[in-house]
Symmetry: C2
Subunit: 393 residues, 2 copies
């Protein structure tokens, strides 16, 4: 298996930095507070237009033309429309299945947010709160969502698999990501008691989720679980025969490598990928097919300054006044990093680039210089990312 895929992030799960206009006129930093700051009318107008325009049929044709064969689609816990004031989005996901079938792409559904949040990231939907695992009713709600997803999409031809839960933040990465400080909670009372998701809890949860989903999903469809940023914790996990077609997802960003001490130059990045990431993936590939479900070309070197692990102007970190490199130099940096990372993911079972598309503006707002490397469309257009060879016929 050698998946070549891309994430459709910011479509059904919002991230402010990718689509600033959605959040305009509010102080909301995450999806939770957006409908609480806008009138119902305006909230619905924005969300509906966004969902109908951000990703459409043409994007599936384009993704196919990049030589990719799969998309990972982050979805919110309120997809079924049962959590006011949020709007459900099964209709959009249904359409995506039809587009995927037409353009010969497969879909990995990725449950990206849960009530109470599993990580406190802005992209978890509720900044600075990590309470999900401590709320039995939220956990049960999540299991029901997974069950409903499996029921609705489990037999669709374009379905490749369903990922149980994106990026639960465990003890191992708690200090590194420091989400409580990096994404301050609006309501300290709500954040009180936030704590890492325990690996032991997560293992039990994943097994329970597997059972609930497998009821409706044929064995040909993968059940994917995220490593919680603690990849070696899963060696002894779900190796029993009863668990079939289980895939391990790990997310590897160069900005995290930087936080891990990697120097901010091309040689150090290359060495890190080859000497830290590649062997890690090779080792874990003995236990599961391993996919790198999120990664990208973004790095501090190309930004022209130390981003302290990918902090943007939204986290109080300003960018530089103008590009630090010529277009040719940038291309060389990115292309080198694309090649070395792609080679690493090939040691496993493939990858999903994060992300397909962003709407930020690096020209009229220099704070975003370097951040467009998260946008696969821009990377391909500028030769930063190589068009993949089509493995079909």
């Amino acid at each position: 298996m050698n998946i070549k895929g891309v994430n459709l992030g910011n479509w059904l799960v919002l991230e402010k930095w990718m689509s600033p206009a959605l959040f305009e006129g509010t102080t909301a930093e995450d999806e939770y507070y957006l409908p609480r700051q806008l009138s119902k009318e305006v909230y619905e107008a924005r969300i509906k237009l966004h969902r109908n325009s951000y990703i459409t049929e043409r994007d599936f044709a384009e993704i196919k033309s990049f030589g990719l064969d799969m998309v990972r689609i982050p979805i919110p816990y309120f997809i079924f429309g049962d959590c006011l004031p949020f709007l459900g989005c099964t209709e959009e996901l249904d359409k995506a299945f039809a587009w995927a079938a037409k353009y010969g792409l497969q879909i990995l559904i990725d449950l990206h947010t849960v009530p109470g949040s599993q990580n406190g990231f802005d992209n978890g939907g509720l900044s600075g709160v990590v309470k999900w695992a401590q709320q039995p009713e939220s956990v049960e709600f999540t299991l029901q969502v997974l069950e409903k997803l499996a029921k609705r999409y489990g037999e669709k031809e374009a379905l490749w698999g369903i990922e149980i839960l994106n990026e639960p933040l465990t003890e191992k990465a708690w200090d590194t990501f420091n989400s409580l400080e990096r994404y301050p909670a609006v309501d300290p009372e709500m954040a009180k008691g936030s704590a890492p998701v325990q690996i032991k809890f997560l293992k039990a949860f994943y097994k329970e989720a597997y059972g609930r989903m497998r009821k409706y999903m044929p064995k040909e469809k993968a059940v994917v679980f995220h490593d919680g940023f603690d990849i070696y914790a899963w060696k002894d996990f779900m190796q029993e025969e009863e668990f079939q077609n289980v895939v391990l997802d790990t997310h590897q960003y160069l900005m995290v490598a930087e936080m891990d001490g990697c120097q901010q130059n091309l040689e150090a990045y290359t060495t890190y990928v080859k000497e830290v990431l590649e062997p890690m993936i090779e080792e874990m590939e003995q236990y599961f097919p391993v996919i790198c479900g999120e990664w990208c070309l973004f790095n501090s070197l190309a930004c022209g300054h130390d981003t302290k692990g990918g902090r943007s102007v939204l986290n109080g970190m300003e960018g530089i006044a103008e590009e630090a490199f010529t277009p040719e130099e940038k291309k060389k940096i990115y292309r080198t990093l694309a090649d070395v990372q792609l080679a690493a993911w090939e040691k496993g079972s493939g990858y999903f680039y994060w992300n397909y598309k962003l709407l930020l503006d690096t020209v009229n707002d220099s704070n975003w210089i370097g951040w467009d490397a998260w946008d696969l469309g821009k990377c391909v257009a500028q030769g930063w990312f190589p068009v993949q060879e089509n493995t079909e016929s």
Copy 2:
């Protein structure tokens, strides 16, 4: 001069069929009635989000990667924000100039709508009304808009030129396009007295516009005029030395060829382009640089049924239930038509494809089968349109 360009239609001037979600929940068929059917809050929410997301920096990078060197940007008469309830859009156009400069593209500003409408098309902003030329205050308003455009953008490095007025409907094409019947007016009173724009009037108007614009635009910037669908009427026009860098724009769609009697098969289309369009452009190129400012691959053959000159489900013409051709067959049709048309435009001074992007869905709504040929992004992604050779160093 051999311009290779694409239109950014439906960004600052709306067309319902390209972006249905903008018009959702209304019976508005054009931009005039949209703010009159939505609350101010919802109208502004939709328009602002649309403008901030439909075209962004990434699209300029992508257009450059198609090997193109120019964009034609349709703008509305209310761009300066002085016609309530419409919202102005200089801010968006300003941004586009910055993106163009960064990605090495040039811009042709195209005044696409005027008060009272010059053609009665939905894309003229006011369906079924052709009264502009009969309203001296609308004509003077238009001249002032052109003057302000020249003043604001005339010296911008990324400006290639300004087009005075898109598609004024003259006597010659009045019956063919039949806009009063095809796009019925909402208010018959408002439509009363609609009539073709007279060539004589148009000539005087173009000369007046030239003078007003040239005050602020250096001679290196083109003043472009549309032929009003009567290309041979312009042979004796503006040949005097006082008029410099004047460019003739003609729009040539295969659907119009069909209305002109061209059979709906590949051979007939090819013959039409070679024997009707090519000689026409060659002849007029003796008088002006001639650009084909709008054209595309759309045709009834690939739609699988006679569209009667490009009528869609919005004009009461339903599509077919499923694709009439295999992907390979469609590719062959489109690619042949791309090659023959591109060769024709080379006899003149180049082209702008209509359009860069559409949001319609041919998979979940079979009425739109065949209509995605208007979308250059989809055409390139599927090999229907060849990536152009980059003429820069």
